[in-house]
């Protein structure tokens, strides 16, 4: 597994609150990396720096280095729109736009300048297929995206992210609002997607991290306590705090 994302001594402040402290980390390509830790530990914050969604929160300040494929994210080498195109994101709550299923998927490609109907049709079909949703919705693409179930909506959001052809997919507790069966479907989907995409997921569910991911990072109060292969972290953690957390003593 080649490392793709390099994070070195990253510090992040929300006005005066020190949200990430000296985070140093590498994230491998074409694999699943899980961020775990109690709420407020900074795992979502770090995830949102990877596509610079934190930019929109006034008073955010960043120090240190965060680079994808050798490019510093906070340099003027980066257009934030292109970054977000290459680094897709799926959110905690399914958030389809109040438009048709088709228009939801086509929204991103259209933003980035694709106008041809034929090309868009193609993208919609492949994206929905990649998200394992095509068979369920292919006959009513014009229906409102709000008419399908929550689990389907979340897979639609994954398809929407895939439609702009990203390299990396960020998932911010993407199954926490779903029922167990929908969760399972998305976990299976993620397993399939890792051959083509680098996936970083935040989860509050340790079992999910253990089941799904290749590498796990444990956060506590804005610091990375430990990161390693998922198997090793869960069976043989080196830090006492990691052990306490995964054995359910706090969090």
């Amino acid at each position: 597994m080649q490392p793709l994302i390099h994070i070195n001594k990253l510090n992040l402040f929300y006005t005066s609150f020190h949200a990430l402290k000296d985070v140093t980390l590498t994230i491998p390509e074409k694999a699943i990396t899980a961020f775990i830790g109690p709420s407020g530990c900074g795992k979502s914050t770090l995830l949102r720096t990877l596509n610079r969604m934190n930019d929109m929160i006034p008073g955010t300040r960043i120090e240190g280095s965060i680079a994808i494929g050798g490019t510093e994210l906070y340099s003027n080498e980066v257009d934030v729109e292109t970054l977000r195109k290459k680094v897709g994101m799926v959110f905690q709550q399914p958030n389809p736009f109040p438009k048709s299923i088709y228009d939801n998927i086509a929204y991103g490609p259209r933003l980035h300048g694709i106008r041809s109907k034929q090309k868009l049709d193609e993208i919609v079909e492949t994206s929905l297929k990649s998200a394992a949703l095509w068979d369920e919705v292919k006959d009513h693409l014009k229906r409102s995206a709000l008419s399908i179930s929550g689990g389907q909506q979340q897979r639609l959001c994954i398809a929407r992210a895939l439609a702009v052809n990203p390299d990396i997919l960020l998932m911010d507790e993407a199954t926490s609002a779903l029922d167990p069966i929908s969760t399972l479907k998305i976990e299976e989907l993620v397993q399939e997607l890792k051959d083509r995409y680098t996936i970083v997921m935040v989860t509050h569910n340790m079992h999910q991290a253990a089941r799904v991911s290749n590498q796990t990072v444990f956060f506590l109060s804005g610091e990375v306590i430990e990161y390693s292969d998922t198997e090793k972290l869960f069976s043989n953690p080196t830090d006492q705090r990691t052990e306490d957390y995964i054995s359910g003593r706090f969090g």
Binding site: G69, T71, D79, T82, L111, H112
Partner: protein, 291 residues
């Protein structure tokens, strides 16, 4: 050139240019409102400040601009407020309490609620027509202070009811439960727990409604508040005038001096409104801290 800048460079530059352009446009559009207010205030100040003298408050209107004041209008406005305030407070808050605390979820309640929101959109001059027919003619109150106050009460009731409802709705259910659990009756709970908790919010709405009433002209013109009143009303049945009507009267005169008088009248009116709005904001801030 990095992987986050490739083929789309030009397209993204274009989109950003559009974003920047629209941003400027939106700022300009927003400042139109702000600038309009500034222009209005400066315009009135320039025209009116010269005649902003004690005689404005001590003299009755007269044929000559130099000796004219708005004493009768000022007093008329204050009298009208004094009559309206208790009337609209009791009726408005009463209706709000009924709708929030007592009314069942049935068709009648929905009808009343719909009716209130519709009334809020009825042009004020239509209230004038109503007042003219019911109070001036039918109840033979004539063109009196009381007829004017009744008409204006009906006009501001929807505003008071809606804002009082919001204030009452903001009182947490736990506070009612605590009162009931101590053995209080419905009315005791409402009068000793719900109303005190929402009083600041209710008063804010009442003040805003009163400031609406101070500025209203059309309905009072309809019911025949006079434009030329050289005496102070002595009883509820006396005829009267109010500030906006006096201002209207001055505006409609062709001579420049009366335009200036109108502008200084407007300054007084705006100052009064500013004081009322300011106290409403203070109340609202206090209220937000408490809840």
């Amino acid at each position: 050139m990095s992987i986050f800048q490739d083929a789309n460079r030009k397209q993204i530059a274009n989109r950003r240019r559009v974003d920047w352009l629209l941003h400027i446009l939106f700022v300009i559009a927003t400042s139109v409102g702000v600038l309009a207010l500034c222009a209005l205030i400066i315009d009135v100040l320039v025209d009116g400040v010269a005649r902003l003298q004690p005689q404005l408050f001590t003299e009755f209107p007269s044929r000559k601009a130099d000796g004219s004041g708005m004493k009768s209008a000022l007093v008329g406005t204050v009298y009208m407020l004094l009559i309206m305030l208790p009337l609209s407070f009791v009726l408005g808050v009463g209706a709000a309490i009924y709708l929030e605390e007592y009314a069942g979820k049935n068709r009648l309640t929905r009808l009343i609620q719909l009716n209130i929101s519709t009334l809020a959109g009825v042009p004020s001059i239509v209230y004038g027509i109503l007042g003219l027919t019911i109070f001036v003619r039918l109840m033979s109150l004539d063109r009196s202070l009381i007829a004017g106050a009744f008409t204006m009460t009906l006009l501001v009731l929807p505003i008071i009811i809606v804002s009082a409802q919001e204030a009452i709705r903001a009182v947490p259910k736990s506070r009612r439960d605590a009162s009931f659990a101590l053995g209080a009756t419905k009315w005791q709970t409402v009068s000793r727990s719900v109303i005190p908790s929402s009083l600041a919010g209710i008063l804010t709405g009442v003040i805003l409604a009163m400031s609406r009433a101070i500025g209203e002209t059309a309905p009072l013109v309809m019911i025949g508040a006079l434009t030329y009143v050289a005496f102070l009303p002595n009883s509820l049945m006396d005829s009267f005038t109010v500030m906006p009507i006096q201002i209207y009267n001055w505006i409609s005169k062709p001579q420049l001096e009366f335009k200036e008088l109108a502008a200084s009248g407007i300054l007084v009116l705006l100052a009064l409104l500013l004081i009322m709005n300011f106290s409403a904001i203070m109340l609202r801030n206090k209220y937000q801290k408490n809840v």
